[in-house]
């Protein structure tokens, strides 16, 4: 009776070991790169003022953001970068967001015009600010975040487009640091992700632990929706953001790999860990649950949509490493995790638990998880030092406690998301926007 359970639990055991080894390898690679960068740039690292640096269009969609919109837009305009334009796309707000912006920034109307390349819900009005002509605002019919961003991409005039949320607070040099990464290889780097910082261990592990390594391997399959920079010409050429998947940021990044890498193998999607915007995590468990379910459905949907890259060498590390890693340790892991809890309970009911082994296994999992958190904290402190000592202690302890409640909870949420995905109970099946066939090399950006 217990034999199948034992076999499954053995699989889970091996899986845990594989997860720990691969994730610790990613942390080690990230730490190596962070230390290398520190040795290269040192403490006095200052950004060079590049005479030919590309202009940036900062796009932020807004929907019913009245309480924060004016201060948020002021903060976006305070970014220390030139040439800059800020394009706020009001996605049909009903709370007076548009009017608040018109009053605060003395907006004057511009003709919307035609020949917009990406299809979106209609733009009703377009404005430019009299008090700060770098600010544009488009008022459009409601169509969701990706649709609003696509409208912004249509209107953007600068070579680089940075997509963000209105409630993100950019560090003053964040945009310059993004451009610094583009300038390393302007011919091949097509997108660069920044770091949305918050005092949560999970974010730290994800951004400093894994993304530096994935960037070094050229296997990044997602840039944060809160801070991602793309080349405008490519965004338009690949058809903009998908309005029909939940993980539109991941979908866009994966689509860029899929469409570009077969013809332009040196195409890179990079990560700029030093480019930081501060963002808020969901305020309560309800919002967190919604966010995680959306993310997981988005992940599963994108793995399905871009399955042709899996295991294919022509897509580089994305096909051979990143996608297999995500299938194993992001898509399948929650199922095995929850199965493990169930087996544990069943064995406990049958009195078949060998407690000494259970304790040893639990200690391994706990210490392995904590090692990831500690490694990420070390990377953060060595490379950037943005956190105070007490924040480091707080984030470290939080990471230790996560295993008792947060990880089981998110595993259950992700199982729920998987069920929704499998039964098709989600907002429409995803499809990939079809852009223009990319037959030419992307234009290099000014250095």
């Amino acid at each position: 009776m217990l034999t199948p359970l034992v076999i499954v639990s053995f699989v889970i055991f091996c899986f845990s070991i594989a997860y720990a080894v691969s994730t610790l390898s990613l942390i080690a690679l990230s730490l190596f790169h962070a230390l290398h960068e520190k040795a290269e740039r040192g403490e006095t690292y200052g950004l060079r003022n590049r005479p030919l640096r590309p202009g940036i269009s900062l796009l932020a969609p807004a929907y019913n953001e009245l309480p924060v919109i004016v201060t948020s837009v002021r903060s976006l305009l305070e970014s220390d970068y030139d040439p800059l334009e800020v394009v706020i796309v009001d996605d049909g707000s009903t709370d007076g967001t548009t009017e608040a912006l018109i009053d605060a920034f003395e907006l004057v109307q511009l003709p919307v015009g035609d020949r917009l390349r990406l299809e979106t819900e209609p733009i009703e009005r377009l404005y430019v600010s009299r008090s700060d002509p770098r600010l544009y605002m488009a008022r459009k019919r409601n169509g969701g975040r990706p649709d609003a961003l696509n409208a912004g991409i249509n209107l953007a005039r600068n070579d680089l487009v940075v997509m963000t949320d209105v409630d993100c607070l950019f560090e003053r040099d964040a945009l310059a640091r993004i451009v610094e990464v583009f300038s390393i290889d302007p011919e091949h780097i097509v997108a660069v992700g920044g770091t949305p910082a918050s005092q949560v261990a999970e974010y730290l592990r994800s951004f400093f632990g894994a993304r530096i390594a994935w960037s070094a391997l050229n296997g990044l399959i997602i840039l944060s929706g809160a801070f991602g920079a793309y080349r405008r010409d490519l965004l338009r050429a690949v058809g903009g953001l998908s309005t029909n998947t939940l993980g539109e940021d991941m979908e866009l990044t994966m689509r860029m790999h899929e469409q570009l890498r077969p013809t332009h193998p040196r195409t890179r999607v990079a990560f700029a860990p030093g480019a930081v915007c501060w963002t808020e995590v969901p305020p309560g468990l309800g919002s967190l649950h919604g966010q995680r379910v959306r993310w997981h459905i988005g992940l599963l949907d994108n793995l399905r949509l871009h399955s042709k890259m899996i295991g294919r060498r022509r897509f580089g590390a994305v096909g051979t490493l990143a996608l297999p890693y995500n299938i194993l340790f992001e898509a399948i892991a929650p199922i095995l995790q929850v199965l493990g809890y169930v087996i544990f309970l069943v064995l406990a009911l049958y009195g078949a638990i060998a407690w000494q082994y259970a304790v040893a296994f639990f200690a391994l999992v706990l210490l392995g998880g904590q090692l990831l958190t500690a490694g990420s904290l070390l990377i953060e402190d060595v490379a950037f030092g943005r956190y105070r000592a007490r924040d480091l202690a707080k984030v470290g302890s939080w990471g230790l406690l996560e295993i008792f409640w947060y990880q089981p909870l998110t595993a259950l949420w992700r199982i729920w998301a998987t069920l929704l995905f499998v039964t098709g109970r989600r907002p429409g099946w995803g499809r990939i926007p079809r852009g223009v066939a990319l037959t030419e090399a992307p234009e290099p950006l000014p250095r």
Binding site: L52, V112, Y357, L367, A374
Partner: protein, 367 residues
């Protein structure tokens, strides 16, 4: 528990070797965790202390510069003080000096350079270009460039082949900033054979040499590397006299690379004047939208009715950005002495939205 059942060794827990292995693995992980946490906090504490020490030194060095810095005749008190600087303080001092002199007028920089030579800092900086840490080499190279130390040129040329990209780029910039002609062949070689330093960085340095760099840009126009050709277009625009440059750029508007054509159109926008060149006229109907955008923007520099005609035509371009630029060009043309009146009359009877767009932006000072 899992391994136990599979191995059929239910009494494994009683065996000493199993517990030894478990204790070793769990203990190692525990120690590694403790070690990492200690390292994180020790590193944080160290950084905090260094930050305070650096702040304190900056204040002290600021006072020292004010009392005994550039302009003082007797440098011996400064030298006596500087000899006390630690390994940690010297790069801070270099960075502060560089920062103060970066935007300083030439006269101030020359006076400062003289003082820096007398206190022996150039030798210290030259020695620092050989340090093992790349960031210290880069800082030394950058500082030598900012102070304009000509005696450092041979060493800076050697640094062009440093193993760190940042040091190589800093050397290129430093040589461009110093502007000593001994650097031209080495920079030219680097420009012709890209790879170790991006052509755009070398282009910026070469531009500082004015007409002396023109032959290099000229050769660059025939490079197999597209990026070199694009940079050379900008180089030709800055190194040659307006008329000579315009003739070359007109030819380049027929280049096979759309990037080169767009770059040529952009440079023509800066160096316009006179009648619209034939190449630019064709470029406004180029198959590549990036070329059309640049060409339509360049029309604003030509006080020629042909520019007006082409801009009006571009209002109907299928590319939105080209049409928007056409509107802006038309508004700009109204300010030209010859064609301005005609442009005003033409746009008065045109109701295309790109024109209205440009008028609003012009009222805000953006066009």
């Amino acid at each position: 528990m899992t391994l136990l059942h599979l191995l059929g060794a239910t009494d494994l827990g009683k065996q000493a070797w199993f517990w030894s292995v478990t204790v070793i693995v769990v203990g190692s992980l525990f120690l590694l965790n403790v070690l990492l946490i200690v390292v994180v906090h020790a590193h944080h504490l160290r950084e905090d202390l260094l930050r305070r020490r650096a702040d304190s030194f900056r204040g002290r060095f600021e006072r020292l510069l004010a009392e005994q810095g550039p302009g003082t005749a007797d440098v011996s008190p400064f030298i006596a003080e500087a000899k006390q600087f630690s390994n940690f303080e010297r790069p801070l001092a270099a960075a502060m000096l560089a920062e103060r002199l970066r935007e300083a007028p030439l006269e101030d920089r020359e006076r400062a350079l003289e003082w820096i030579r007398r206190v022996g800092a150039i030798d210290v900086l030259l020695r620092s270009t050989r340090r093992w840490q790349p960031w210290r080499r880069e800082l030394a190279v950058r500082t030598l460039g900012i102070v304009g130390a000509r005696e450092a040129v041979p060493r800076l040329i050697e640094c062009l082949s440093d193993r760190s990209r940042h040091v190589r780029e800093a050397s290129v910039r430093a040589l461009g900033r110093i502007g000593d002609e001994r650097a031209v062949p080495a920079l030219g070689q680097l420009y012709a054979d890209p790879g170790s330093v991006a052509p755009g960085v070398v282009y910026e340095a070469l531009r500082a040499f004015g007409a002396d760099a023109a032959p290099m840009f000229d050769r660059g126009l025939h490079s197999a590397d597209e990026e070199v050709r694009v940079a050379s277009v900008f180089g030709i625009g800055s190194a040659l006299a307006r008329e000579a440059a315009a003739a070359r750029l007109d030819d380049l508007l027929a280049d096979e690379s759309p990037l080169v054509r767009a770059a040529a159109a952009r440079v023509l926008a800066r160096d316009g004047d006179g009648s619209v060149p034939e190449g630019l006229r064709h470029a406004t109907g180029d198959e590549e939208r990036s070329v059309r955008r640049a060409a339509v923007s360049a029309l604003a520099s030509y006080d020629d009715p042909e520019a007006l005609r082409l801009a009006l035509h571009a209002l109907d371009d299928p590319d939105r950005d080209t049409a928007v630029r056409a509107g802006e060009t038309l508004v700009r043309l109204t300010r030209q002495p010859l064609v301005g009146g005609e442009a005003q009359r033409a746009i008065a009877v045109t109701d295309a939205w790109p024109l209205e767009h440009a008028r609003v932006l012009a009222a805000l000072g953006k066009v």
